[in-house]
């Protein structure tokens, strides 16, 4: 099957074939490529990918529990099953890899090589193959063989030391995030290598077939260090250790003052921070006027010359005085009232939203962000997050639902690779697929 993308097609990666052997650590990586139009084939063991076992679950019309995690991160892919520990399974993967453009996997380092279907073997048969491996720490190094799930990756990324109350247990975000970060960086690395390959192809460089593949080694730990944002540079520049401060923000002043960021309101919580810079000045003035319109503004805020306000020099007692009044004011607002008022007044600040708030947000609805998909076996169509970008010339977004287990075995193994239906049955019974 030719792998040169078709010109003038509506997607960036039309005609690009991706073999997706990822576990949850890399599921979103395959989806991102699929969202851009690649033909992504999810290859799972006969018993199914671990992602199918992630809660929450919802029973489909046959009563079988479907993983919502799986549905969210594996749409746009076709699906086959292969037992890579069987010789036939290896042979099928090798055959598919010969004409694939990209392969992504997230097996423990060395595992694919031990089976004889790692990068070295597959790229020997297909030098144009971009092979991306996503692991907790990378392909080699002292932590290479460490057991790590989300909690360990977050711990070693540094971000947990920055989350939670001071002196108390460092925290992770309760909906695991490391898989999404590792997958996002996996997509970045994959497309970087693909860009290189395609550039050489255009130049007619790289052997008869043109183009040059390579190995992309992605570390989830490294991917999650970005969550520390600028905290490392307090140490790198000044040997100051940035630490967790609960719901307070620090590091904005020379006085050491800290600012409240999370505020209870009538029906939940808000995020608001006394900020500096032009946007902060405007926000603080707007909030003062809003509070004043309800006779809630304290003298310290009314008397402040917000145009000259320099957050770096404010003292903690001043902050505390303002925050006491602000806190009382916020207690009387609902999340929606705060957002509406904030938008009207051009203020920084948002409600602390949950999924329900996000689904109801008219900003997202008006941009047609949600894409409705009827997942087979579900009793109702569902809204999924749509394209991650709006391109003026290209499509990007959800096209097909996540595959059921082995859904495309016949389509790919019979129609494409030429196995007979009888062989398919034989392989099924022998647990090769």
């Amino acid at each position: 099957m030719p792998s040169t993308p078709q010109p003038n097609s509506n997607y960036a990666l039309s005609g690009c074939r991706v073999l997706d052997l990822t576990t949850p650590l890399g599921n979103l990586c395959g989806k991102i490529l699929a969202d851009l139009g690649a033909d992504v084939i999810k290859i799972e063991p006969p018993s199914g990918d671990a992602g199918r076992l992630r809660s929450p679950f919802y029973p489909d019309t046959s009563g079988a529990p479907q993983s919502l995690w799986w549905l969210a991160y594996n749409n746009n892919k076709r699906g086959i099953t292969l037992n890579l520990e069987s010789s036939d399974g290896k042979a099928i993967l090798t055959k598919l890899a010969k004409s694939a453009d990209i392969l992504i996997e997230s097996a423990p380092p060395g595992y694919m090589d031990s089976l004889g279907v790692g990068f070295e073997r597959l790229s020997a048969e297909n030098p144009k193959l971009v092979y991306t491996a996503i692991t907790p720490f990378g392909q080699n190094g002292p932590y290479r063989d460490f057991l790590a799930d989300d909690l360990e990756i977050m711990a070693l990324s540094g971000v947990m030391s920055l989350t939670g109350d001071p002196g108390r247990t460092p925290l992770r975000i309760s909906l695991s995030q490391s898989e999404a970060w590792a997958s996002l960086y996996g997509a970045m690395g994959t497309l970087t290598a693909y860009h290189h390959r395609q550039a050489l192809l255009s130049q007619g460089v790289g052997g008869q077939a043109g183009g040059e593949g390579q190995f992309v080694d992605v570390s989830a730990q490294a991917a999650c260090v970005i969550l520390c944002a600028h905290a490392p540079w307090f140490w790198d520049y000044n040997r100051d250790i940035a630490n967790r401060e609960g719901k307070y923000m620090t590091g904005r002043t020379i006085t050491g003052a800290k600012f409240r960021t999370v505020w209870p309101c009538r029906d939940g919580f808000l995020t608001f921070i006394i900020y500096g810079g032009p946007a902060g000045q405007k926000t603080n003035r707007a909030l003062t006027e809003w509070m004043d319109s309800q006779s809630c503004a304290p003298p310290i805020m009314k008397q402040k010359n917000w145009d000259k306000f320099d957050v770096a020099t404010i003292t903690q007692p001043e902050v505390d005085e303002m925050e006491t009044a602000i806190g009382k004011f916020f207690l009387n607002l609902t999340k929606q009232e705060f957002l509406k008022g904030g938008v009207q007044r051009g203020m920084l600040g948002y409600p602390i939203s949950s999924a329900g708030d996000i689904l109801a947000d008219d900003q997202l609805v008006s941009r047609d962000f949600w894409q409705t998909l009827q997942q087979p076996g579900m009793d109702r169509p569902l809204r999924f997050p749509g394209g991650f970008a709006k391109f003026s010339e290209m499509e990007c977004g959800v096209r097909r639902p996540a595959p059921s287990l082995g859904e495309h075995n016949s389509e790919i193994l019979v129609s494409e690779l030429g196995f007979s239906p009888e062989q398919l049955n034989l392989m099924r019974e022998a647990r090769i697929i």
Binding site: L68, G189, D217, Q221, H230, R252, A355, L364, K390
Partner: protein
């Protein structure tokens, strides 16, 4: 070794803070030529306001947060509000493969630098606009910063102890999700251009990007009417699953146990204490049910160990364990050091510090050695020569009229 993967790609940024510039930084890390357009009259907020500053002395060239988002890029001083400034900007755009901007929607168009105007000069241009809400919609003009958008996007709600108030998620979390998707979108558009010969416009909303990282919660709400809740460090089924206190103050080790076999391995490392044989911890369900008590008992044991030693001991025995790295630990982390994740750069005002590399290593076209973030307007002459072929006299004239800014004429403090 081949040339860098993004060799020859010219990126011009009209961008400040994180969401725009960090995309350029990552492209530069793989060999793109990345130019930031800035003006001393309106410096990037990260240069001007945000600690850490070197030695806690403020200065436009002393900012750590600016440094880490802008290594390996160049700075050209152009005053878009001065006569001739917009013209220079347009000429740069005509030479660019990619433009990245993160102003309030409509700003570039008002300046005469909207996509339609620039594409007319350069039909192969890929232009990315990244902002909080996207270019359209009822709240497109609502100002916002990523550190707070993190809350609107649902993440803040998910950090904290069960039953407690949310705690802040550090930094502009959402901005970096959008940096990743922005990078992917640009490379996708460049591939499309390679096939079709045409550039295009990309409208990226940081809010929308964040929602992708919560996609399962979106489905959960629709189907089950519930939302994921703050759970501290708890896991759906694994127990123990938490960060446990270690010997030194405020040092911790994460430990997680996913099945009976792993539990037995942990019990073995703990020396088979009597409490571990209790029926209260004999099965997966029982351990999960009695999690609070289990946490307390494990913590009593972990307190005796230095965090690093505990991690090594448990990993050797086949138990999920990881030290909670603080910032100094992160720079010394043996795995990150092995990957050369932190690279030293020598900045002419700050001195030696580190740049953070991408999380992906390419075998044939590795990242280029980074160089330090630019001083403001540091490369004006060089860029005008390289991209526009201007002579020294022409540059001088432009500087005299205020259209471009030279480093020599910028007051650093």
């Amino acid at each position: 070794m081949s040339q860098p993967a993004l060799d020859g790609v010219v990126v011009v940024q009209f961008a400040a803070f994180a969401a725009g510039p960090c995309i350029g930084k990552y492209m530069a890390n793989h060999g793109a030529y990345v130019v930031r357009v800035e003006s001393a009259s309106r410096p990037d907020g990260f240069r001007a306001h945000y600690p850490p500053f070197k030695d806690n002395v403020k200065g436009l060239n002393r900012s750590g947060v600016f440094a880490f988002n802008n290594d390996t890029t160049y700075s050209i001083g152009v005053n878009l509000k001065a006569p001739g400034g917009i013209e220079i900007a347009k000429k740069l755009a005509a030479k660019a493969d990619v433009i990245i901007e993160n102003f309030t929607p409509g700003t570039m168009r008002k300046l005469g630098l909207g996509y339609d105007a620039l594409a007319a000069l350069n039909p192969r241009l890929v232009m990315l606009s990244t902002c909080n809400m996207g270019q359209t919609g009822p709240r497109a003009q609502h100002p916002g910063f990523g550190s707070q958008l993190t809350s609107l996007s649902g993440f803040t709600n998910l950090a904290g102890e069960p039953g407690g108030e949310p705690v802040i998620v550090y930094g502009p979390y959402i901005d970096y999700v959008a940096v990743g998707f922005g990078y992917v979108a640009i490379l996708a558009a460049l591939e499309y251009r390679r096939q079709s010969g045409r550039g295009q416009y990309i409208d990226l909303a940081q809010y929308e990007n964040g929602v992708h990282f919560l996609a399962p919660a979106i489905l959960q709400h629709q189907l089950l009417g519930t939302s994921p809740e703050r759970q501290g460090n708890r896991h759906d089924y694994a127990a123990p699953h938490n960060a446990y206190p270690c010997a030194e103050p405020d040092t911790w080790c994460a430990i997680s146990v996913f099945d009976d076999d792993e539990w037995q391995r942990l019990v073995g490392v703990m020396g088979k204490p009597e409490w571990a044989a209790s029926l209260r911890f004999a099965t997966q369900l029982a351990r999960k049910q009695n999690e609070a008590e289990l946490d307390a008992l494990v913590a009593e044991w972990t307190r005796a160990f230095p965090a690093n030693e505990l991690m090594m001991l448990l990993q050797k025995a086949g138990v999920h364990a990881a030290k909670v790295n603080n910032m100094p630990d992160l720079f010394a982390d043996p795995q990150l050091v092995h990957r050369r994740f932190w690279r030293p750069v020598h900045h002419k005002e700050v001195g030696v510090h580190h740049a953070e590399m991408p999380a992906y290593d390419l075998s044939l076209t590795p990242a280029v050695e980074p160089f330090p973030d630019p001083c403001i307007c540091e490369h004006t002459e060089a860029i005008l020569q390289k991209l526009l072929g201007l002579s020294a006299a022409e540059i001088e004239a432009l500087a005299a009229q205020g259209a471009v800014e030279l480093e020599s004429s910028v007051a650093a403090h």
